[in-house]
């Protein structure tokens, strides 16, 4: 096509477009997305007219030198609810939109955030980390000194142990963001605490480590030395950049696979001792009351778990045509090992078939899985996923879990989740229990 002809066509197209603009804009105003890909008149307006970004200068390269998402993505965001909040949203949680998440990495701005006294804004120049107690040589580190240690980079999820914890007695959230989004995953960079301890020398009688934050709640938790000497880290990097303030900038603890609450943010102090500390968040909360009246304390690992993320109540199948080939996709994760397989049921957990794992399968990490499905218009399904890990654990049914844990435990609920697809393709969060 020569240039002249191209220009003529362009001109004609533009005239044509303006004539039709009134008709198109009526549809646009009615809220019908151009994503709909429907033919109107000669063709889809998204193809037939010139887009407003297609013929004018874009932003200079100096705009947004630190990039931000397209403004059109503004609804892909963390969300909170006052029912999970106290103290003017200072002791609260904002959860990750896992219905919109891709792969096994959460963008830093969407990483779920929980604080016990608000998000602290730490001046990195005044950051100090004290490591003391039962060590041969106590130390104080600046941020620069901390980052000088030989580092490791690992991909791990962090999950609040109350993920799903509002639903022990029945489903409450018709939303996968709220039912399962008290978690997110990132590639973390930091130093193994055992690397620092090689230098300091841990006294043989040391059994427990206190990790304490510098925020106004001085959030603290006690961790057994087994984990400290295994894979516990102090991290400063998150997906290739500094931690965000909501994730504990400039440094936080990362205890792979264990309760998110143990991954103390805005870290300032590690102390080693013979006995644990009985911190507020390991006694009054983060303990699992059983029907016996005894509560499990120091309940560390987030157990093997999974959920369907697509379809979801948020992004359902009501737009699908009969016979459409569609991918049912989800996440599986275990804080106790590596995902070895995921089964999917179409009848609420009566019968299962194996789903396929997708992408990287890493230790104590989100793992993607899917199954290809041919959608029949009008069909009703109960989609239940069930994951297994290499420690030998498998997700229990709701009945199996509540038989031992009762319904007052709040934390560590990992029974299978079920998503109902209705006749019209809507999706509802349900539970299958006796």
């Amino acid at each position: 096509m020569n240039n002249k002809k191209s220009q003529e066509e362009t001109t004609i197209d533009r005239r044509d477009f303006f004539k039709k603009a009134a008709a198109f804009s009526a549809t646009a105003l009615a809220g019908t997305s151009l994503l709909a890909n429907e033919v109107t008149g000669e063709g889809d307006p998204a193809i037939m007219h010139h887009t407003k970004w297609g013929q004018v200068w874009g932003d200079p390269i100096t705009t947004n030198l630190y990039g931000v998402p397209s403004p059109y993505e503004h609804n892909v965001t963390r969300r909170s609810t006052s029912l999970l909040s106290s103290g003017n949203f200072r002791a609260s949680i904002a959860v990750t939109p896992i219905h919109e998440s891709q792969g096994i990495i959460t963008p830093n701005g969407l990483f779920f955030s929980r604080s016990h006294g608000g998000t602290a804004h730490v001046d990195p120049n005044e950051f100090r980390l004290m490591i003391h107690g039962l060590v041969d040589k106590p130390i104080v580190l600046t941020l620069e000194q901390l980052k000088r240690y030989p580092s490791v980079t690992r991909t791990h999820f962090i999950e609040c142990p109350a993920n799903g914890g509002q639903e022990w007695r029945g489903p409450q959230f018709n939303s996968v963001q709220f039912a399962k989004g008290f978690m997110a995953s990132a590639e973390w960079t930091g130093v193994y605490i055992k690397t620092i301890l090689e230098d300091l020398g841990l006294k043989p009688e040391a059994q427990w480590m206190l990790a304490e934050g510098s925020d106004n709640s001085k959030m603290g938790r006690t961790i057994p030395v087994d984990k400290v000497l295994d894979d516990a880290m102090i991290v400063w990097g998150q997906n290739g950049e500094a931690l965000r303030p909501e994730q504990g900038y400039p440094a936080r603890l990362l205890v792979p696979g264990w309760e998110g609450n143990l991954c103390v943010k805005w870290l300032r102090r590690l102390e080693f001792a013979v006995e644990p500390w009985y911190c507020k968040e390991e006694t009054s909360k983060y303990t699992d009351l059983k029907p016996t009246g005894k509560a499990i304390q120091h309940f560390y690992a987030n157990e093997v778990n999974s959920t369907v993320t697509s379809p979801s109540p948020e992004i359902d199948w009501s737009h699908l045509e009969d016979g459409a080939t569609v991918e049912i996709e989800g996440l599986a994760w275990s804080g106790m090992g590596t995902i070895t397989g995921v089964d999917i049921s179409f009848d609420g957990g009566k019968n299962y078939v194996e789903a396929k794992l997708k992408g990287l399968v890493l230790q104590k990490s989100w793992t993607r899985w899917s199954i290809i499905h041919t959608y029949k218009k009008g069909e009703t399904l109960l989609l239940t996923s069930r994951a297994m890990d290499d420690a030998g654990y498998i997700q229990p049914t709701i009945d199996e879990e509540t038989k031992i844990m009762g319904v007052e435990a709040v934390y560590h609920r990992n029974a299978v989740e079920t998503w109902e697809v209705t006749e019209t393709g809507k999706v509802n969060h349900v539970q299958i229990r006796s």
Binding site: N75, T77, R79, S80, T81, S86, G87, N88, H99, G118, M130, L141, Q145, L146, Y149, R154, R169, G170, F173, S175, F178, E198, D199, L202, K203, Q207, N216, S217, K218, P224, D226, G257, V274, W277, C279, T283, S284, T287, P291, A295, I296, Q297, F299, A301, T338, T340, Q363, L382, M388, Q395, T397, D399, M405, V407, E408, H412, E420, V430, Q431, I432
Partner: protein, 386 residues
């Protein structure tokens, strides 16, 4: 250098390394099943992934720093350690070494505690610690009686009474309360209470939970000091598992999580897992009652459009509900006659106190992110009620 004489840990983890080396390490093959016997489990009941031949699973690991001194940082001064080391331990072992326990000398009365509570705590924690202001309740009555509710479980009957988990009925140690009050309270200006004030508030907590120390009721006349504090026995101190008391509790913790039945977990060999007719026969589909919880901030939406331009002016009622109501609903509420006592000193003084915060509990701007001008609109609204 790292001490390798840590027999407790090493004996377990060396065994784990030896066994895991066979199954889980060495290349990109899919992880294999391990049945969690013969000690190849970590303290949480899961597996650990040691580094073998420079790799842990799919990750390459550079371990060549091992054995080389890093000599980073400096030794803290005694004063620095004392400044930050303010935790208070429960002290099953440390009772023999009072300094290590971290509980300072001091004293405070229930009477002083109540006055402090009324001035700095009640706006959030409610009258007598009853909660209701969005913050946790601190008491629901007699601690010994309420401890007995911990076996309540709304397993079949949603109308039944649930367990009551407050300080007196649930917390295993009083040290937790003392430590958290001093370092974490009051929420908007923590770490401002003296040791004696902390004793006084702790005494008041024991009082409203109707507790006794060493057979003596913590009544309205009670004065708490360090010696008395060390004799506190919480009603639910034995209500937790696994045991973590004493100088050698980790073997018990490891044993607890080695048994999945203790914590509601299930193990199965993959080939033996149920694939057909797996669900209980009387299981039914349970749906969300009513709307469920759906008041999300912001409301749920998956639409791709341009965000609305934010309004330049604030909606005072909305800001009030998000940022002020938690405390001001019960104290100096919008349009309350109590405001007269404050406005008498001049509106500029009220504005300044609000903007800068006060000693008696008002956080600067109530913690809201507002310009001075918009904050003054909020003050006007609180005083006038419209």
């Amino acid at each position: 250098m790292f001490k390798l004489d840590r027999k407790l840990i090493i004996s377990t983890s060396v065994a784990a390394i030896a066994l895991l080396g066979v199954g889980c390490v060495g290349g990109e093959s899919a992880p294999t099943f391990s049945d969690g016997v013969n000690g190849n489990i970590s303290i949480d009941g899961g597996v650990s992934y040691p580094t073998i031949n420079g790799k842990s699973g799919n990750y390459f690991v550079n371990e060549s720093h091992i054995g080389r001194a890093i000599n980073n940082g400096r030794v803290p001064t005694d004063a620095e350690e004392a400044k930050w080391n303010t935790d208070v331990m429960a002290g099953y072992v440390y009772n023999e070494d009072p300094k290590a326990l971290g509980l300072p000398e001091g004293e405070g009365s229930v009477e002083e505690g109540e006055a402090l509570y009324e001035a700095q705590c009640v706006m959030c924690h409610g009258d007598f610690g009853s909660g209701g202001g969005g913050y946790p309740a601190l008491s629901k009555g007699n601690a010994e009686d309420l401890q007995k509710t911990l076996t309540n479980n709304r397993y079949q009957d949603p109308q039944a009474d649930g367990p009551t988990r407050v300080f007196g009925s649930y917390w295993p140690q009083a040290s937790t309360m003392f430590w958290y009050i001093r370092d974490g309270m009051p929420h908007p200006k923590s770490d401002t209470l003296s040791v004696n004030q902390t004793y006084a508030l702790t005494a008041y907590m024991l009082n409203i939970n109707e507790m006794s120390i060493d057979g003596q009721e913590v009544d309205d006349e009670y004065v708490l000091d360090r010696a008395k504090f060390l004799k506190i026995k919480m009603p639910n101190q034995d209500g937790f598992e696994p045991n973590v008391r004493g100088s050698d509790s980790l073997p018990g913790v490891r044993a607890y999580y080695a048994n999945p039945a203790n914590f509601g977990a299930h193990k199965v060999k993959p080939a033996e897992r149920c694939m057909t007719n797996c669900q209980e026969t009387n299981a039914t589909v349970v749906r969300i009652a009513g709307e469920g919880i759906s008041q999300f901030i912001p409301p749920m939406s998956i639409v791709r459009d341009l965000p609305e331009k934010k309004a330049e002016t604030i909606n005072v009622k909305e800001v009030y509900s998000n940022a002020c109501a938690m405390c001001h609903d019960s104290f100096l509420s919008p349009g309350s006659a109590e405001w007269a006592g404050y406005t008498a000193k001049g509106i500029d003084k009220v504005y300044a106190n609000g903007i800068n915060g006060t000693e008696t509990g008002m956080p600067a701007k109530g913690g809201a992110n507002l310009s001075d001008a918009n904050f003054k609109l909020m003050v006007d609204y609180l005083i006038s009620g419209k």
